[in-house]
Amino acid sequence: MFSVEGTIIALVITSLLSLGSVPILVWMERRVAAFIQDRLGPNRSNIFGFRIGGIVQSFADMLKLIVKEEFYPKHIKFKFYYMLAPAIVFGASYLTFAVIPFSNTLLTNKGLSVVQLLPIELGVLWFIALAGLSVYGIILAGWSSHNKYGLLGSLRATSQIISYEVSMGLAIVSMLLTYGTIYLNGMVDFQSQLLWGFLPAWGIIMQPIAGIIFIITAFAETNRAPFDVAEGESEIVAGYHTEYSAMKFALFFMGEYVAMAASSALIVTMFFGGYHLPWLDSPTLYDNPKIVLSVIGVVLIPLIIGMIYWMRRSNKISGINEPQRARETKILTILLALILIGSEIGILFLLNAEMTNQIASYIATAIQILTFVVKVFMMNFVFIWVRWTLPRFRYDQIQTLGWNILLPLAIANVIITAIVIVVF
């Protein structure tokens, strides 16, 4: 028996993680970049004096992109392809999320339910297919915008895709050999085991070389630094999206962040244990929901108090009294304290309630989804961190890296993995 609750939860989480997280990721990108470069980043735009660390800026940017004039350059011959390209980029990035499992199967009153948008057996293959497709959107955009910089950008994207896709595929092959399945749920279940009794059997620990190759190629696949040659704003204006404006540009822009989130999700699923907390597999979680809940309740107190302390200390300009910010600090303090009290009361209520299998399942699902989201955001941070550390590769350097270094390494890794699996 199959019920839809899990699919609905997965749909909501997918939308939140892909579309909903775009403003957060843009904000994160700008603030992290600023902090890495000893700047402050956007912290001015506010709604009634609430700036919430500057996150309002992203919503202002989005609003601006939505209401901006739709402009079509006159020289474009094939308007259909011109319009299709951003849709492909965005749609493909969005759909890659569909196969990511967000938690273990959920036990509802109608039966078991998989928390996954598309519980298909294809798993990783779906990701490879759609992630590869998003590059076609970029190529199409550069070609149909009939602009030399656009064309150069799409040429670069093409030269990039032929240099990393093979290594990416081979890195995934070695992971498939290790896990023995292409179903992502199966991979995650495999990773809940322990290696030699104490190490979590995460992909990155069992297959560090495949992990590194996959992470590098995932950077290339999302068109982010150091592999953002297709954009190359210092060299070819803006690359493939030179001729795009308003919402059509925003689709590319959002597509990049959705692709980043999707890649992070897949990296987390394949190499960092997916939705599992380390040393805490699903059966243990189902059996002891009360212990886990009380641990969460205890951890939450210093976490939120620390956050209040940090917020009060940093939400001001040293030496200057600013009434607007002081008011915001006060209200945010009250809000955070209310969140803390509310969640503690909720946890106490759950601890006193009778623990049926169904409630335990819901609690476990919530904890696993939370774990997954935290892991994805940590991986997103790594993406951002790398972007603001490394300079852009030249596109012949990318090809050298892809063909001369990553490909032999990936092939060797596949062969060694296969030998190890056959022998043992």
Binding site: V32, A34, F35, I36, Q37, D38, R39, L40, I212, W310, R313, S314, K316, I317, S318, I320, E322, W385, V386, W388, T389, L390
Partner: protein
């Protein structure tokens, strides 16, 4: 002078591996990030409307002003030196006879179009009477239309110097 051979980098195995260097670079950026996120108030950015710039010295070329003599009358003698020296042609002077016996000539109108002005300071250099100066320390101009930025003689006289030395030092 011999030929200096610069050592080429990137040949050793450690450098060819890329990853150690990348990790070192990421450690550096993370050090900055963690320092700044733990205490954002110590970031040296000037948060402008709340924090005013502290580096405006008496050599800063701000908005112009006309100085006065020791007897509190205008120091300008309408010699047109500043208007002649002005590369942006933004000074408009109309001269008139001076009736109070202090001097022979004075400006009837002395307009500076601050939107045209490039703040080069040539007018200050050219003035033989130390009558025009840019030591007001005013760096931000606000107006609702173009006419607001044409600053008149009265406004120029009413602007004070920000660094003492109020009067003309010419005589």
């Amino acid at each position: 002078m011999g030929i200096k051979i610069v050592k080429r980098h990137g040949d050793t195995l450690m450098e060819k591996l890329y990853l150690p260097a990348i990790v070192a670079g990421m450690a550096t950026t993370f050090k900055h990030f963690s320092k700044n996120i733990s205490n954002p108030t110590q970031i040296p950015t000037t948060q402008y409307p709340h924090q005013q710039p502290s580096d405006i010295t008496d050599r800063y070329r701000g908005q112009h002003r006309l100085t006065k003599r020791a007897d509190d009358t205008i120091a300008c003698v309408a010699c047109f030196m500043c208007a002649t020296a002005c590369p942006a042609n933004c000074i408009f002077i109309e001269a008139t006879e001076r009736e109070d016996g202090v001097d022979e000539k004075m400006p009837k109108k002395f307009n500076i179009d601050l939107l045209e002005c490039i703040y080069c300071g040539y007018c200050v250099e050219a003035c033989p009477c130390d009558a025009i100066r840019m030591d007001s320390g005013i760096f931000s101009l606000i107006g609702k239309n173009r006419e607001d930025f044409v600053i008149t003689k009265e406004k120029l006289l009413a602007t004070h110097g920000a660094f003492g030395k109020e009067n003309s030092r010419a005589r």
